[in-house]
Symmetry: C2
């Protein structure tokens, strides 16, 4: 198994590339690698390269960049807007969303968000690790939290929002328990075509969306509301499910 690492530096055959101290530690002490061993490097813009470890020290390391192994690719233009939830579920969202293939992750503070402090730097590190392990050549950005009321400031005209309108206020978990329940997600997407719009997905906190948020969302012409089955999903399960279904219906899980 050849380690795959993200490097925030230019990559070019024949040049040297730096490891930071955490990467040098990881390669040396966790994976037990030494100078001469092979790694794969990517930086989110130049593609993926084979490289040979040249030096591993406490403060960092160096690799010699060899042949390009893959041309740069990018993920579909899909952003996940999500209400921060408690730590375990939050990290699950960032890790799984990166694997499933989002371009960006944007925390949104909704009315019912129980917003403890959010460590954006740590979430970004989780996204980098998930990108390294999933074979991605790009890293999704993790934004600083924004308020729900500011979410649509500067919203691009041709960008659609898939709003996961779960039955948060609904006593019954069964279909039809609430009037005007949104259609199942795959059904909601069936009239949309691949590569015609940018998309975003919005999922709520454990307590769901407030009635006024739901109304504001449903009033926007670019919003498609959808539901995710007859059971009540946790916030992280809902986010993962919506991204998987979007990717399978309109994204790069379809064969090119």
């Amino acid at each position: 198994m050849i380690p795959r690492l993200y490097i925030d530096a230019p990559l070019k055959t024949g040049a040297a590339a730096p490891f930071d101290s955490a990467q040098a530690h990881y390669l040396k002490n966790v994976l037990r690698r030494a100078p001469g061993d092979e790694v794969r490097l990517f930086n989110g813009r130049d593609g993926e390269f084979a490289a040979e470890i040249a030096e591993l020290k406490k403060k960092g390391g160096l690799a010699g960049v060899k042949a390009k192994t893959r041309e740069q690719t990018s993920e579909p233009e899909l952003t996940l807007y999500f209400a921060p939830v408690k730590r375990g579920a939050l990290e699950t969202i960032v890790q799984k969303a990166t694997e499933i293939g989002v371009a960006a992750l944007q925390p949104v503070l909704t009315g019912r968000t129980v917003a403890s402090k959010l460590n954006v730097e740590r979430l970004q590190a989780i996204a980098v690790e998930a990108a390294e392990q999933s074979g991605r050549l790009s890293i999704p950005s993790v934004g600083e939290p924004i308020k729900f009321a500011r979410m649509f400031d500067g919203w691009p005209e041709n960008r659609r929002l898939l709003f996961c309108d779960e039955a948060g206020d609904d006593e019954s978990a069964e279909w039809g328990g609430r009037e005007g329940r949104a259609p199942p997600l795959l059904e909601a997407l069936k009239d949309h075509r691949r590569n015609t719009d940018q998309w975003a997905v919005l999922t709520g906190p454990e307590g769901g969306f407030a009635p006024e948020e739901r109304e504001a969302l449903r009033a926007k012409p670019f919003v498609t509301a959808a539901t995710l089955g007859p059971r009540i999903l946790r916030a992280d399960t809902a986010a993962i499910s919506a991204l998987v279904l979007w990717q399978a219906a309109l994204g790069d899980w379809i064969r090119p």
Copy 2:
């Protein structure tokens, strides 16, 4: 928020229902409930009932069962066969699969499974908790691990297996990197109709399936092989993704 609890005892309006010591502790000391407070109870066969807490003691408790609030429903006949993975991911699989709506969970020891000991009782408890929180009226069973070679003993004739044939041996994470790669999961299911067959989903360990396992699976007439996008998914992400797509294409995530 009315607590929802699974009780392994008959439920009938006007009768009493027992809490075990863990439930009594949870209601009293975690949720701060007291006699007179309302709960919802289900047992996997009689439907869901409103009930009033009558007694909460160290060794257990009692509730008075009131009106039936929902008729019994069941989940689609879908079993997840999965290779045990490390603890965090394993628990994620059991929790999310229960929410997404499987009827049963069956650990399978494949050749590349790094099988530490499996605490089936603990996994069953996670399934019960996820069922309680998701509004399910049934509890998925968690089986004792079986060997891959025994997986098809007594396999029902009309039961199909959706085999998630990820690119475990594939250096490149891109489409077409390997000859004969299986189609995307939604595409693989498009000729199947709802309610015609029983189904199972099979996902592998972190290291993927061994070549001989893959061959054995592909040779079975009831196996449908499928893939989950161009990136490499972790074992838990793959299991969750496959179940979500099956539910949305053939299961109860479709409107009735």
